[in-house]
């Protein structure tokens, strides 16, 4: 259900026109197709109801209860939500996730776009570079890479060894509350390959004639870039932005592994999802955890809606 960092690129095309029914006996044909369609959709419909919709409602209901899995849920009204307001760790985790999303997503997409632009212009060996830059995206979400990161940024790790050779005294990146989150932001930026591949696919869809026409009209590289490349790429930028923002909100593995599940040092890597995990599966405070989860759902929903609203002002659709 979550979108991994390495999502294969897909492009959203304009909505399909309703299909012309193959069977021209309109009413009967449609009825037959409706029955067939529901047979095809049966697994999905069951999943939608049993695995998604009902649990969502149950989770909403639980968020108004006190429930520790052993006792029966006890209705406590909005107490869980009021508790959040006074819960310093709730605010800390919201801040940590907020910083992570706001810094790591633009950084990652910036790298992705820059590299896509460099690779796009008829460069030989494109496939090799693309693969090399894409590999971290495939691995970045794994426990193994989080373990690797923990070693790299450890006191005796690769980063400090590298710094030492150029005469800089390294620090204990993961033990220092000021730098621990930064290492995870670097990790996310490192996985820029997946959005880069999507940018490359988008760049290749821009008709070459537009650039030729612009050159004939005397437009230089920068004007071609500002007036052709960027506008025509905005739908892809938007697509990547939505995908990576939602993904960053749900980041969990890296923080869990690097901090040993604590979110430390001093809660500096306490991602919001890690806090939900601690409340639900360490403290078994299912009611409060459900309330936290619903707040996350609402925030992601609001931010996605905001993205779509704002997209009217900067995303260029149409010919």
């Amino acid at each position: 259900m979550t979108i991994a960092k390495s999502a294969p690129p897909v492009q959203i095309t304009a909505p399909d026109p309703p299909p012309t029914p193959v069977d021209t006996g309109k009413g009967r044909g449609r009825r037959r197709q409706t029955a067939a369609a529901h047979a095809f959709l049966a697994p999905w419909l069951i999943g939608l109801i049993v695995i998604t919709a009902l649990p969502m409602l149950a989770s909403l209901a639980l968020s108004f209860t006190d429930y520790n899995i052993l006792s029966t849920p006890r209705f406590i009204g909005t107490a869980n939500f009021e508790r959040m307001l006074d819960d310093p760790r709730f605010w800390t985790s919201a801040k940590v996730t907020g910083i992570y999303v706001l810094v790591s997503v633009p950084l990652q997409l910036g790298f992705a776009l820059a590299l896509a632009l460099i690779l796009d212009k008829g460069l030989k060996g494109l496939a090799i570079y693309r693969s090399a830059y894409y590999l971290p995206s495939l691995l970045g979400g794994s426990v193994a890479v989080a373990v690797l990161w923990k070693q790299i940024f450890g006191y005796d790790g690769l980063v400090n060894q590298g710094l030492e050779t150029i005469g800089i005294q390294g620090s204990n990146w993961l033990q220092n509350p000021d730098t621990a989150l930064g290492t995870l932001i670097v990790l996310n930026a490192w996985t820029f390959g997946s959005p880069m591949v999507i940018f490359l696919a988008g760049l290749r869809q821009i008709p070459e004639e537009l650039y030729e026409a612009a050159r004939v009209d005397g437009a230089g590289w920068s004007r071609q870039f500002a007036n052709i490349t960027i506008p025509l790429l905005t739908p892809i930028i938007f697509f990547n932005l939505i995908l990576q923002t939602i993904g960053a909100f749900q980041a969990f593995t890296q923080a869990h592994v690097v901090s040993g599940g604590t979110g430390g040092p001093v809660d500096s890597t306490l991602f919001y999802t890690l806090y939900i995990y601690q409340q639900a599966f360490v403290n078994f405070d299912m009611g409060y955890a459900s309330a936290l989860a619903w707040v996350l759902l609402l925030v992601i929903g609001l931010i996605t809606a905001l993205h779509f609203t704002l997209s009217k002002y900067w995303v260029f659709y149409g010919d």
Partner: protein
């Protein structure tokens, strides 16, 4: 190195004959600079992975003292030290991960292709609503449903089994793949369905004999990404698998980190490397299909 020579030949081949030698030379220099920078950047990007590869085979006392990637001594000691976690050898965890991943692949191929065919090709009233639901559920965070799911599976006695990880895949809950397949099917000419219909084929036969064979690239993309996502998945597996006999690779690796006091960096890196091996193999082996998948789904 080979990329460098490639670029030189291509630049000169592209350059029309009347362009002067100096212009051609400066273009060549530009290409060389660009390739040099891109190669350096690539090495910088991949250096952590190369370091992991080399360190896994280094004696533990050298791992943290020698940042170089040319090993002076090779050993399998690290793999031996990390092989047993919680009383079980690592191949058990590989077996468990493989069972989960393969089941997830079968489940996704089955349920998502059926749903996608109906949404892309059949005419029924709720079609647009259903498709909108698919799009929205792509963005739905799993945290909104995981707690009640856990409570239900736990009451059914299914914690420490693979059922909670596999069952949802047979019910098309990876909406992303439904979406991907719908987009792919829309690119298949409708005349093929119509021909099948004229020959008397109903929706099921059209799906099985016409659409499904043509969906091969989308099915391969789904297989690859389901494998990689399932192999890397941690949250779900961490919650549902608490007994070391059913640990998957990521959960076992996490347990190894937690018991780190007596494990060295070399051991952790060796087991991390081992856990990534299937993905690296998939990456090497499935390159062609990855690119194909990108070309057919991304470049419609």
């Amino acid at each position: 190195m080979s990329t460098l020579t490639d670029s030189t030949t291509s630049t000169s081949a592209l350059a029309p004959r009347h362009i002067s030698v100096s212009v051609r030379r400066s273009r060549l220099r530009g290409a060389l600079v660009r390739h040099g920078a891109l190669t350096l950047f690539g090495l910088f990007m991949l250096y952590p992975l190369i370091w992991m590869l080399v360190s896994a085979f280094k004696p533990s006392h050298l791992v943290l003292t020698d940042p170089g990637i040319i090993p002076t001594e090779l050993t399998l000691e690290n793999f031996r030290n990390g092989w047993v976690v919680g009383g079980f050898p690592f191949w058990v965890f590989f077996g468990n991960s493989l069972v989960v991943a393969i089941s997830a692949i079968v489940g996704n191929l089955f349920s998502c292709s059926l749903a996608a065919f109906a949404l892309a090709r059949l005419d029924f009233r709720a079609r647009n609503i259903y498709f909108a639901i698919v799009l929205v559920s792509v963005m739905l965070p799993m945290h909104a449903v995981i707690i009640p799911q856990y409570i239900v599976f736990s009451n059914l006695g299914l914690v420490n089994t693979f059922v909670p990880l596999i069952l949802p895949k047979f019910l098309a809950t990876d909406a992303f793949f439904v979406f991907l397949m719908v987009q792919f099917i829309r690119g298949i000419p409708r005349t093929l369905d119509e021909a099948a219909c004229i020959d008397g084929a109903g929706p099921f036969r059209t799906f099985w004999f016409v659409i499904l064979p043509l969906m091969r690239p989308a099915l391969i993309t789904t297989t690859i990404f389901t494998f990689i996502w399932t192999w890397n998945d941690f949250f779900g597996q961490l919650i549902y698998l608490t007994d070391s006999s059913v640990f998957t690779v990521p959960v076992a690796l996490n347990a190894l980190v937690d018991s780190q006091s007596n494990q060295g960096t070399g051991t952790l890196l060796a087991m991390s490397l081992l856990s990534l091996l299937p993905i690296l193999l998939f990456f090497a082996f499935a390159q062609k299909y990855l690119i194909q998948g990108i070309a057919t789904t991304g470049l419609k």
